[in-house]
């Protein structure tokens, strides 16, 4: 008997190491694999495809003796069967650092295909897939790649943005901890396509497990991606470094201050050289696209949002985890049907989509399909597709205040609307919460939000008004 237990950060934080040790102590072989992404079931124990979870150490003897109640076949779990796992095809199934497992599951096929078809055909394939930047901005990846490919320079770079700082997002972490070779392969394909021989993965310091896995995977696969070289760089706790120009400054060893655009990083990026800056999920989608073709990827999705999105269902939700599915699924399906409502059992009051800069959305808008354009039309953003569920105990005035406070803590300080506006926003919301001149102060917040939205250099100051104004708009009773 061999038991398979995830060694990703969620599993470990929920006690997977202790459970694995208990099986080992009982003489049972343990394989550490990636996570299936059903986080409410972690630590999830997989014995010949049958699942048990969440497992505690004292349940281990019963599981070994066949006396424990199982969840049935994991691969047939309702949470799993309706997903379209392209990027997360290996989740739960392979050992993260096993090159054998990676080879046996279509590993390196995309890179081989790219090398066979040539650089321009590789870019054309990414273009045909309709893949858009998964970090939040949704910029077409193919166009960015083409721009860098056409730029004339002695050195070009591939930079992977793994500074996943948004609350309710963990898909980047799961790729790096569960399938690190996939990201390396995606970066190597990008490097081949645009003529870059150096790649950096900028990982936030809050992800020590991801850093360790990526560093180990880079060593193991160096000979496979050569002459392309990948290096991990570790962030230092600054949220704003998830913004691409700030990330580039940080990589260069500077303060993570935002740069004005133009020049675009595609033309003058890292160390002034043409640079692709792509999110983990963008690069991790590329091997599948090369292996199966751009049209096969574009067959998923809705409107101009092509392909699949690894959605992260989080916060106060019964069934939280990673749900990769084609664009177009509605919030109602995600929150009520798949997520199963709140973990507390109380009514859902709202969700926040897209992290700390995303709008709060009330249940009356849960018919919204997950789609860049549909969300933009409703004054919301898809962002990195993290969904935080809140029950009816949430105080939206406090959440609006927190949005401003977070912006104040994390502002890089370069532009005035963000640096000063966020602090003035906290002060004004404090007055509103204290019941002082509420109507006047709400008008002031609306005015301040306009200034921040249109006057900030980057999305931190520019998008902080989304959670603030959506909270005021949809939940006015919490402010008066």
């Amino acid at each position: 008997m061999t038991v398979r237990i995830s060694d990703d950060a969620v599993a470990i934080a929920c006690g997977a190491d202790e459970v694995a040790a208990a099986f080992l102590a009982a003489g049972v072989a343990v394989e550490r694999v990636s996570s299936w992404g059903m986080q409410w079931l972690e630590p999830l124990v997989d014995i010949d495809g049958i699942g048990y979870g969440p497992v505690s150490v004292d349940q281990v003897p019963d599981i070994i003796n066949g006396k424990a109640t199982s969840l049935g076949r994991i691969a047939e779990h309702t949470f799993i069967v309706n997903q379209s796992r392209l990027t997360f095809a290996r989740a739960g199934k392979t050992r993260p650092l096993s090159l054998d497992d990676y080879y046996a599951s279509e590993g390196w096929l995309g890179l081989a295909k790219a090398r066979e078809m040539g650089a321009q055909a590789t870019i054309d394939t990414v273009m045909a897939s309709g893949l858009r930047g998964r970090g939040g901005a949704g910029f077409p990846a193919g166009i960015k790649w083409q721009t860098v490919a056409r730029a004339d320079a002695d050195q070009k770079y591939i930079v992977c943005n793994a500074d996943e700082g948004d609350s309710a997002t963990f898909a980047d972490r799961m790729v790096m901890e569960g399938d690190p070779f996939l990201l390396i392969e995606g970066m190597a394909i990008a490097g081949f396509a645009v003529g870059a021989d150096k790649g950096y993965v900028y990982i936030r310091s809050e992800y020590p497990q991801a850093i360790a896995k990526m560093e180990a995977a880079i060593k193991l696969s160096a000979y496979l991606v050569a002459p392309f070289v990948v290096e991990v760089r570790v962030g230092a706790g600054a949220y704003v470094c998830g913004e691409e120009t700030s990330l580039l400054n940080s990589l260069e060893g500077k303060r993570g201050e935002v740069r004005a655009k133009p020049p675009l990083p595609a033309l003058e990026g890292l160390f002034g050289k043409p640079t692709i800056v792509n999110n983990v999920l963008t690069l991790a989608a590329v091997p599948w696209i090369l292996t199966h073709g751009g049209d096969a990827y574009a067959a998923y999705g809705a409107g101009r949002s092509k392909g699949t999105m690894p959605i992260q269902i989080a916060g106060n939700v019964k069934h939280g985890g990673l749900y990769e599915v084609a664009f177009g699924i509605t919030l109602a399906e995600l929150v009520n049907d798949i997520g199963g409502g709140t973990a507390s059992g109380r009514p859902v009051r709202c969700v926040q989509v897209g992290g700390p800069l995303g709008a709060y959305i009330p249940p009356t808008q849960f018919h919204l399909p997950l789609d860049y354009e549909a969300f933009a039309a409703a004054d919301a953003l898809v962002g990195h597709a993290g969904i935080t569920v809140f029950d009816d105990t949430v105080d939206m005035a406090q959440m609006a205040r927190f949005a401003m406070e977070f912006c104040a803590v994390e502002s890089c300080g370069k532009c005035t609307p963000c640096r000063l506006g966020s602090t003035r926003g906290v002060e004004t919301l404090d007055q509103i919460i204290a019941g002082k001149n509420v109507e006047e102060n709400l008008a002031l917040i609306a005015d301040l939000s306009e200034t921040m939205k249109f006057g900030s250099l980057c999305a931190l100051g520019g998008f902080t008004p989304y959670p603030v104004m959506s909270a005021i708009k949809h939940f006015p009773e919490d402010f008066r």
């Binding site: 986080q39 809050e206 201050e257 106060n316 939280g320 993290g386 977070f406 803590v409």
Partner: protein, 136 residues
């Protein structure tokens, strides 16, 4: 004992070496002192102000060492939705452990969560959080 000179030597061939150097100094000494900033600035041909500017920009670097053990408690939206604010008074009612706010550990469906060193903890409630603090 590792010295600043050792750390500088290790990173001398890297492009943009300042952050990796500061991470190593922080790890080895628990902070980045004025003296080490001067030494780093000299080695990289930067001004002291430039190095200071970088050290003070990032939350991870401390200018003075923290004598107490440090626990980082996630207080971002997803952990707030799962009740982290109810744990804050427990942290405030003790002074032996330095409890710092962190914004997101990527454990957003199993919060409230915390990190001590490189070790992560999830599904914290009153009892688990108190036990964790007392064990530090």
């Amino acid at each position: 004992m590792v010295s600043i000179a050792d750390i500088l030597a290790e990173h001398k061939d890297r492009d943009g070496p300042l952050l990796p150097i500061l991470h190593d100094v922080q790890k080895a000494f628990g902070h980045v002192s004025e003296d080490s900033m001067r030494e780093i600035a000299n080695a990289l041909n930067l001004t002291r102000a430039e190095v200071y500017g970088v050290v003070s920009f990032y939350h991870d670097f401390r200018k003075e060492a923290e004598a107490r053990p440090v626990l980082k408690l996630c207080r971002a939206e997803a952990c707030k939705a799962r009740g982290v604010e109810a744990l804050v008074p427990i942290a405030d009612n003790q002074s032996r452990v330095k409890v710092e706010a962190i914004y997101c550990l990527g454990l957003c469906a199993v919060g409230p969560s915390a990190m001590v060193g490189d070790k992560v903890y999830a599904r914290l409630d009153d009892v688990k959080f108190k036990t964790l603090l007392e064990a530090m």
